[in-house]
Every structure is written in C-alpha cells, then in structure tokens.
Amino acid sequence: MTPTITAESPAPATDGTVETTYREACKEALRDALARDERVFLMGEDVGHYGGCYAVSKGLIDEFGPDRVLDTPLAENGFTGAGIGAAIGGLRPIVEIMTVNFSLLALDQIVNNAATLRHMSGGQVGVPVVIRMATGAGRQLAAQHSHSLENWYAHVPGLKVLAPATCEDARGMLWPALEDPDPVVIFEHVMLYNRKGTMPAAAGTVDIARAAVRRPGEDVTLIGYGGTLHKALDAAEALAAEGVSAEVIDLRVLRPLDRETITASAARTRRVVIVDETWRTGGLSAEIAATIAETAFWDLDAPIERVCTAEVPIPYPAHLEQAALPRVESVVAAARRALGRPEGAGA
C-alpha cells in the first residue's frame, strides 16, 4: 500500500491557461467522463471511500455516488474481468489497478480476454474498457510496487497502450480512450502525480494515435514517455548549455507505436538516445531501437543509445533506487557518446 498524497487544487491563471497538477488533470478527466456519459463508471481498489491510492479519485464518490465510483474487493483478476464483461455488455468502465505490479494478477483477464475476444469471436465482441494503472519507481516502494512493465502490455495485439506524460495528456487522453471501441491501458507514472504543469483552461481531448515532438532540435533525438519524458527534457536543457540541440520525442502511445514520427526524427538528427524505465532486456527500448534500425539505419551516424533501468528488482534504499533508474546525467552522457564528444562541450 502507498500512503495517500494530498491532492492540490488547480490555480487559475489570467492568460487562458491554468496551472494544475498531473493528479488534478487525471481527476478532471475522470470527472468529465463520469459527467458526460451515464455508462461510464470507475471501479477499483479504494477508488471510492479512500479516495484513490494516489488520491486521483478523491471526492468523486461524493459527486457521483458509490455506484459510479465503485470500491472493489482486492481481487484484481475478478474485478478487471468484471470490467471487461461490463464493457461487452454496453457499459464504459474505467478499471483502476493500483500499480502495474498488481496488474499481473489481472494479466489473465487483460491478455486472454480483453485482447482476444474481438478476434476469437470474428469481430462480434468489442471490449471498450479502459484500464488505468500507476507505474514506475521513485518513491522507495521497493520491488513489488515500483516496476515498469508497460512493455508487457505493449507486446499484445488487441490492446492499445497510452502513457500520458503531461497534464494536458492526463486530462485529454481518457475520453478518447473511452470512445475507442477496443481495450485501452493507460499508464500513469507515480512520480508525475505531484508534477505541476500548465494547460489551456479549456483543455479538452487529445489524439491517442501519435507521438509528439516536445522540443524540436537538430543534433540528437531523445525519446522518452511517461516518467522518462521529463528526464529527457531536462537532459535536453543540459545539452543546450553545451551547445547541443536535442530533439525530444514523447511517445505518448506505446501501442501502436508511431513509427513515422520516431523514424523521421532519427533520420533527421542521425543520433538517437532512448530513455526507458522498463528493463533493458526485452524492454520497450529494444522495440524502438529495432524500429529505427529497420527504418533509418543508413541515416544514422552513431549506434543507438539506450538508457534503461538496471537489471535488478527496484531496491528500497533511495540511493540504490536512483542508481537503478534512468537519470538525467546518464541521458546526457549517452547523448555525448552518440555525438562522439564523451567529455562534453568545451572539453
């Protein structure tokens, strides 16, 4: 279990944008979906009376009642399967699973049912369920609450996998995910919930098909998503101080991957660093690197660099946890290697 983090209220600004937090943006998305469509309901462990393990759904039970914000027993496979069945039956459930580690208990229902029913039934059965879960490390929650396993889901045909990294995406991805006729899995990185950001006061839905160029650049492409996007952006800032213009791509959608955007950027900058919190072996970075090798090999000027989580279950002590994770310095170092300037600018 994770301690509740108190939610913050969005602060209105004067220029048509609001400052908010990722958590508030997630909650706004839930509130909007629940208000828009009677068929939508949120179900999961402690989403109601407790207010959500990460306080994302705090207060929603008072607003929408216990039938629309439904506390479940600790039975991930059972309630996820019930969400899948409810979606088949005509509802639009949002199933919340506390962490990706716990989602392994529901892997059967997600992979064997949600992802296969349309296919096995020859197109008769659609499963318009949305499954949200927290992912990632950084809170010293040790080896059963901190992993990044989104690549497991990104491996499976029949699923769509989203990783909102910004407040605007946290606010805007949920509704199109609910409108999607197929199962959508949304990963929210635990270190983003408290993160502040601005977005248009009238922020609405966003597309759930394409990657985004978050920072244009010329010399090297840094590819991240979810929690690692911000490390890539910080690295780009550090590289700028060295005179290196880094382009930063936010994958946003982990399945299906936007190969076009990835390839176009890699072919233009000719150097790529992938920043990925899944483990290196068989991780998402391997798929991205392979894609680039297949589509932009002759445009590359340097081997593709990967900055991933060390091959170790996430340890409890802060210094070891941080050492296991992708860090801004390691991204900068990887970019320098790709640029053939391992000592950095001015060296």
Partner: protein
C-alpha cells in the same frame, strides 16, 4: 506419493485408475417444481440432446478425417445440463461457456451449420472461423463464447450482469464451467463480486468429476462443491446432471429467484464425460468399468426410457427425431464442406475494430 499426514488430515491420494470417492447422495424431491411437461416440450428436450450427441459424434469422426483440427473437447454424456439449463433461460439472457461448449451453442439455438463451419475454420462459422471448437460465439443468440481459460469466463458473466442491471435489462448472465474451475481463484473472486453486488448471475457448475485427468477428490479438499458458495451467501443446489428435467426445473427455480432480485444462484450439476477429455487423452486415470457404469445412466438413454415408461414417447417418435437430426447434421456438414477459407490477406482483421484502424492523427506539439 506422499503418506497421509495427521497435520492436515489429507486423504490418502488415490492410485490412478482407482474408483473415485462417490459423491454424496443427491437430495430427493428435485422434481417438486417440474416445468411445463407437455409432450412437445419433453420431445424437444430429447431431440436437443440427440442433436448435440450426433453433432459431436460426427465431430469425432471428422476429426479422424482431419477436417477438424486443434483441440476437440466432447460434451457427450453431459447433454442434459446444457439442454435443461437453456430451456429455463430467456432469449435476452447472456451465456458464457467453456471450451467444451458445443452443447451449449446448439442447445441455445446457434444453427448447427455455423457451428460446424466454425469447427472447420471457415468464414461462415459462427465466429468467422477465427475461434474454432473452443470459441463458439454468436451474439444473436446471446452466446459470449466458449472460453478456454478455466474460470476465465466467470468474471465476464459478472460484468455482463452489471451491464444488464445498470442498463435496465431484465436479463440474467449464466456462466457454465467445470468443477475444475472451482479450484481457480477467479471462481471465488467472481462469486464474491456477484453476491456482494447482488448481481443477476447464474453459476452452473458441470461437475463431471475430472479436471482433465485429475479426479475431484485428488484436487479438492471439499468435494461437495455446492457447499462452497455458502461462504459468499449464494444459495446453491446440487442437481442430478444426468436428468434433463431436473436440470431444467432447478435452473428455472434459480433463474426465477435471480429475476426476483435475489442475487446470484449456484447449481452444481453432477454429470459425467463419457469420452476422453480431448482427442489426445488415453484416459489412463479412470477405469473402463466406471465409464460403463455412468453410460448406464446416460442422459439420453435414461430420459428415453422414462418417456417410454410414461407413454410419452410414441412408436416412431424416436425414428422421426433421429431422421430429422440426421438431415440437419448432413446439411451442417455440407455447409461446412462448402465453406470459404479466409484469404491470408485479411489475417490481421479482428484485432482492433475496423473503425479504429485509422485513428485521426492530430499532432500535439505542445510543451509540457
């Protein structure tokens, strides 16, 4: 083999092939609330059981001819459960079944033609050929699939029941599963959810005494399975699953209670699989004499005798049924034989909805 231990009180493991511990006797009086037992109705029950039997006998034969491949799990011996239960369910109700679901599909009214075409893997099959024997789907008949993960369909039924209730539909979600599923955690999760939320779910356990080749008493501490749902406050009943009228009556009573808002019900139908688990099963785990004993109380044989004894089955009735079934079956096989193989070009269909194949590409360029 480990010795029995005083600590756990575990039973001595049975040698493979030894006779299983006899299940507790079935309470008498199950026919107390018999459904409308008109002659037409009774002959319909007999006819449906024979339809399933002949269909599956043909499937076994077609399997040896390699017209049907993959896994083929025959329901032969268990027909009374699907036929009795389906008669007590309405057209608006939803059905979730297992990989041994040919009987459920046919009893539910899915045409034998599309069932057989599915066995052949043809486009004209009830699942477009993509599912095969273990995954018969037909939403026009409320059949939400054969599910080949043991217990995998149970939470789907819970969710379907949630949808029925929230959308104001007066419908029940019925899930069929073998006794092996009761050992799965998901059975207990689904039972708890259904009862906790008082959902219109009918759990029908088809207890054929063997989870593939593992006898019930080798795999369950409590072999009286209907007792298990007491801990979830789900009323349950044990039913003679070889007696089609008893199954229909018990299902009707359960469904009436569910429709009356009483929450889920659990039926343990005691039955027996006459054939191997699948076409690859040498049946080393049970004696031939045990199979013969159960065949003696086979659902079709027994029901036919009862119909004869009561004067319900007239001369020529059985021949007429058999000849109608043969014609239906011949037509089904001809339909499947004339079916279309899906072109490889459409291999990647039915992974996502066709409408979602090309999502709108709006490219956000905003900074976080």
């Amino acid at each position: 083999m480990s010795a029995p231990t005083a600590l756990t009180g575990a039973a001595v493991p049975r040698e493979p092939g030894a006779a299983p511990v006899a299940p507790p006797p079935i309470p008498a009086g199950r026919h107390a609330d018999k459904p409308h037992l008109t002659r037409d109705h009774l002959l319909g029950l007999l006819s449906d059981m024979i339809r399933i039997r002949r269909f599956e006998e043909a499937c076994a034969e077609l399997y040896t001819q390699e017209k049907i491949r993959g896994f083929l799990h025959l329901y032969i011996g268990e027909e009374a459960v699907a036929v009795g239960a389906m008669r007590a369910l309405g057209t608006a109700d939803s059905i979730v079944a297992t990989y041994r679901e040919h009987g459920h599909a046919i009893a539910r009214g899915v045409p034998m033609t599309t069932c057989m075409a599915e066995m052949y893997g043809m486009v004209e099959g009830c699942s477009g050929g993509r599912g095969g024997s273990m995954h018969l789907f037909d939403l026009d008949h409320g059949l939400y699939g054969g599910n080949a993960i043991v217990g995998g369909g149970l939470p789907l039924a819970v969710g379907l029941a949630m949808a029925h209730r929230r959308l104001g539909r007066d419908a029940v979600a019925a899930c069929f599963f073998g006794e092996g599923a009761v050992a799965e955690g998901v059975f207990h999760e689904a039972a708890n959810l259904a009862s906790l939320w008082r959902l219109p779910v009918l759990f029908v356990c088809e207890n054929n005494l063997y989870a593939m080749g593992s006898a019930l008493d080798l795999t369950e501490a409590e072999t009286d399975l209907h007792l298990k749902t007491a801990s979830y406050r789900i009323p349950s009943e044990v039913v003679d699953g070889m007696d089609v009228v008893a199954v229909e009556a018990a299902t009707k009573a359960a469904v009436d209670a569910i429709r009356g808002g009483g929450g889920p019900r659990f039926l343990e139908c005691r039955t027996y699989r006459f054939r191997a688990h699948s076409m690859f099963d040498a049946q080393l785990y049970r004696e031939k004499s045990e199979i013969e004993e159960w065949r003696g109380k086979g659902p079709i044989r027994r029901f036919r005798h009862w119909l004869e004894e009561t004067g319900t089955l007239h001369d020529g009735d059985l021949d007429a049924i058999e000849s109608e079934v043969k014609a239906e079956l011949d037509a089904a096989i001809a339909f499947a034989e004339a079916g279309t193989r899906e072109p490889v070009e459409t291999l990647e269909r039915h992974v996502l909805a066709d409408s979602a194949a090309a999502p709108a590409a709006v490219r956000p360029e905003t900074r976080p």
